[in-house]
Symmetry: C2
Subunit: 338 residues, 2 copies
């Protein structure tokens, strides 16, 4: 009975042709003031809302961009998502968000869905090796930008953060404040991010002849894993203790901090300096505010959208791999030793 009004209904109601209504919607200055007013009133009276499916069908493509992330709960991605949405909104597109949860199956589902929706393009932080799948997409005319993952530059554009540089930054900061016996705490070395951060730290330590770097393997990347490492350190004699600890992420660092401060055997930063990675909200409000490495997540999201737009617009696009440099955030946990 109360089917939603179509453009035709509006046309009838305003005694005008359908083309005119369409013009009012899309090229307002092609139509005279008088009729525009009449049409707008009709739209209002009928509560007309444009049917995007019909528009899409005619236009040939949608005004949406697909975005698939590994975990929306992860603050890193949450921030990327938000900035991507904002950047997309600015250029009149909307973002369809998919959370793969590190699951290749869900990822594939979203890719299918987005393809059926004829998204303008795809932003993806892939689970595993999906280059084959993405190659297909590319051939079918769906441009894709990889997020937080480097890509074959002859095929895709990508945005990422330089983890090696971040690792260097963290270790260098510890060295600059006078620490010499450093330790790196990090989860399985198989994770690229972890490996790169360690590599960067190694590079910084090599620059100081008298500095050493010890690697402490953690069982995962959680607060609990950090506490495990911390407890182990507390067992050691004071002489054996590193005087600067760099953790592969903030959760680990917070765990280490808990262990060290709880027992009150060691003080941060006097006895040992501590720095994390990611600069999550909790870092600033830790018992001892935690120094950290901040990744430019807003920039990541925005740039990803921009790269995608480039690809959408040009016929044979030049792919670009944009790598951002993270930023050092100094707080109390690495204040100068005295």
């Amino acid at each position: 009975m109360n089917r939603t009004a179509s453009i035709k209904d509006v046309a009838t109601h305003a005694s005008v042709a359908v083309g005119t209504v369409s013009n009012v919607l899309n090229y307002p200055d092609r139509v005279s003031e008088r009729t525009k007013e009449r049409v707008l009133r009709a739209i209002d009276e009928l509560g007309f809302v444009r049917n995007d499916a019909a528009r899409q069908l005619r236009i040939g493509h949608s005004r949406t961009i697909g975005l698939i992330v590994l975990d929306v709960g992860n603050p890193f991605f949450t921030s990327v998502v938000r900035s991507a949405e904002d950047a997309a909104a600015l250029q009149g597109s909307a973002v369809l968000l998919g959370d793969s949860g590190h699951d290749a199956g869900r990822e594939a589902n979203y890719i299918d869905l987005f393809q059926e929706q004829r998204v303008q393009g795809l932003l993806i932080s892939p689970v595993g090796d999906v280059t084959d799948r993405l190659d297909l997409l590319r051939e079918r005319g769906v441009p894709t930008v990889l997020v937080d993952r480097l890509a074959d530059e002859s095929k895709f554009s990508s945005v990422a953060v330089d983890d090696d540089a971040g690792g260097y930054l963290a270790a260098k900061h510890l060295l600059d404040t006078g620490r010499r016996r450093l330790a790196f705490v990090g989860g399985p070395a198989s994770i690229r991010q972890v490996a790169d951060r360690l590599e960067g730290a190694r590079r910084a330590v090599k620059e100081e002849p008298d500095a050493t770097l010890e690697v402490l393997d953690s069982d995962g990347q959680t607060v609990l894993a950090g506490r495990g490492v911390g407890d182990m350190l507390v067992q050691r004699g004071r002489a054996e203790l590193p005087d600067g600890i760099f953790c592969a992420n903030d959760l680990l660092a917070l765990g280490v901090m808990q262990s060290l401060t709880m027992t009150h055997t060691f003080r941060i930063p006097e006895d040992v300096a501590l720095i994390g990675y990611d600069d999550i909200d909790f870092a600033a409000s830790a018992v001892v505010p935690l120094s950290s490495i901040r990744q430019p997540t807003e920039l990541l999201g925005r740039t990803a959208i921009e790269l995608l737009s480039e690809e959408v617009e040009s016929q044979n696009p030049v792919h670009r791999a944009v790598v951002f440099t993270p930023e050092l955030v100094v707080r109390q946990s690495t204040a100068a030793a005295g």
Copy 2:
């Protein structure tokens, strides 16, 4: 040049009629094994992907559900979103996610967008008073379910968690473990959630003649605000100190915990018990694992989708307001006093 293949192309390539291809896609057993095979091969060879816009146009509605939350970064909503997505996927729908960020303008934009997309229905955690706006939607045939907000049951279905019950649960637990001088720490009383939790706590305290409840106003709901309250408490003499503290959320509680444990003047739970609300990930891995009240977020998301489906399916639906009861999670921070 390499426009994506349409159903017509597939039909030609497989030497069948377009209707047959459609049948293969939608009613596979209406078509013989032989032709089905031919059509499927053609689909594969041409890399055909169904155009959802055209399908939608014909069908009259989409297979998507709009979901607008106040803040995707908030673990509460993150969890609701995820479970809603899962529940929707199970019934063959996809979720379009919008983050209003507590901004009425962005909220309105998303409502417009979703309406143009002809979503099957809308799940929304509204910013302010949008009942007028939602009324309009309802009249236009877009069923809506309110999330985390009670609604006029004659108009909308809704899912929410009983904050009063949660407050009662927390206070009762403190009382049950022998505490008598309770304190409630909470942000502006204008926030309904905060007010309700306090009300519930009051109810529990009234049941114990010799118990008292002090209300400590916090400046917001952050770790820092909690630390402010904690510092203030530390200043007091031991006799003046409450022996059980209930914080309106976990962040506040963690802040309070930092203050109390850092100075080492008071011990948790021996001198004072502490309980939070929300059971965020950090609660379990705090210095002293934090007792908390867990909200059944997965259930919320799932139920919201179910209520929406009911409305979509029936012509003149009965609206239901589903209220869930939160759950007590006991950890070390409220262990019996001794």
